[in-house]
Symmetry: C2
Subunit: 238 residues, 2 copies
């Protein structure tokens, strides 16, 4: 079974939702047969790369909240994160464009290091004092190397804005096709969707349901198959 | 869309079928959104690692063919391969246990090099004069490095019979669950199956059908979703 998780590193509910999903997965009896893939979704794709703002300022400007409302929202999110055992700095975080982060996550996918990098980027964005957005490429190289990637390969991707850009766009196009207009968005075997940071019980139920309802395949063209099996290989018929 | 291909490196129809599938994929309009994954299937899992035989001898002993029949089968397969532009040595090939090859293919998957290694192993088994089975680990290291893998990582996997063994077994268990009793076996989005090295037209039709019938997701728990979207992040409700 495959679970795809559309998310953005700048999305607090993605950070919390991933922890809740993983809590459910940890007790799922068939967890060894579940493959988790992270998919790209930018909440703020129009933001210029050099336009970095404090999160509170961004929230009040972009969504018309008072600074007090924005702070209350961050406090609420911090409490939800803490309930999942996640560190969350409710003050002093920065917000910026996440396109380069998604490009690096696709590089990491090719090297089997995607989940490691997702975790490290979440931690860097939500829990660490250093900004993920104002220290330039050096900071990203440092984090990607921590995830097990090669520093030169990371630098090469960051230096070429086209690298993995198509992959990010393809993920975002698929999210739209699947009906996701917010994240996190969980898709189980392309059959079931779960929207948002639902409680772990909802993910547990979704895993059980999707597992139990795996449908038998529809076999196309069941004519003479040129195949090899335990009794040998078919002799060509055509 | 995801296409999973169960196959064995020692399976001539897998070699031919992959080429036919790729011919269909090359002209499929949505090919950029098709991900191809190779899955493990051993045709001869009971063969001891050091039990290497000429293919003709294996065919006649294992399947009760006369040597003449075995040679005719290889000639037929060679002709089918040639029709797809594939080199195929109909005489002098060896047959052996492929478990280590499958373990390396899982290593390659983790490094984004699986398709490269599949192609190189097929070529080594079907087209090259050197045996894939009698030269020991050095030969496998050489081929895996050609596919872009790190020599030390390859040696470490070959030295540890448990490395990726569970992944190979899991693929084989899934094949059985999906009803595959021979290879190649193609599975499109876990909805449609195509058994055998069908003509490219069958694969083209399967791709079109699976693409067109991608079902909308069933959304589980559509209650209040703690999610972030273009208009901001939900305020915690629970």
């Amino acid at each position: 079974m495959r679970v795809e998780i559309w998310s953005d590193i700048a999305c607090p509910w993605c950070y919390v939702g991933k922890a809740r999903f993983e809590k459910a997965l940890a007790t799922f009896p068939h967890r060894d047969q579940v493959e988790v893939v992270h998919r790209s979704f930018e909440l703020d794709p129009g933001r210029a790369k050099d336009d970095v703002q404090p999160v509170i300022t961004m929230l009040s400007r972009k969504y018309g909240l008072s600074e007090e409302q924005a702070r209350a929202g961050e406090d609420n999110l911090g409490a939800q994160a803490a309930a999942e055992g996640l560190a969350y700095r409710t003050r002093g975080r920065d917000h910026g464009n996440t396109f380069d982060l998604h490009r690096l996550l696709h590089l990491a996918k090719e090297h089997g290091r995607q989940d490691e990098l997702v975790q490290i980027l979440y931690r860097a964005n939500f829990a660490e004092e250093r900004s993920l957005f104002t220290e330039g490429d050096d900071r990203l190289v440092e984090l990607a190397v921590e995830a097990g990637l090669d520093a030169d390969a990371v630098r090469a991707v960051l230096a070429d804005p086209a690298a993995y850009a198509d992959e990010v766009r393809a993920d975002e196009r698929e999210a739209a096709e699947l009906g996701a207009n917010g994240v996190p968005f969980f898709v189980l075997d392309r059959r079931y969707g779960v929207s948002g940071a639902q409680p772990a019980e909802v993910f547990a139920q979704a895993l059980t349901q999707a597992w139990g309802e795996r449908s038998p395949l529809t076999l196309l063209d069941q004519g003479d198959a040129d195949a090899c099996g335990p009794d040998g290989c078919a002799v060509p018929q055509h």
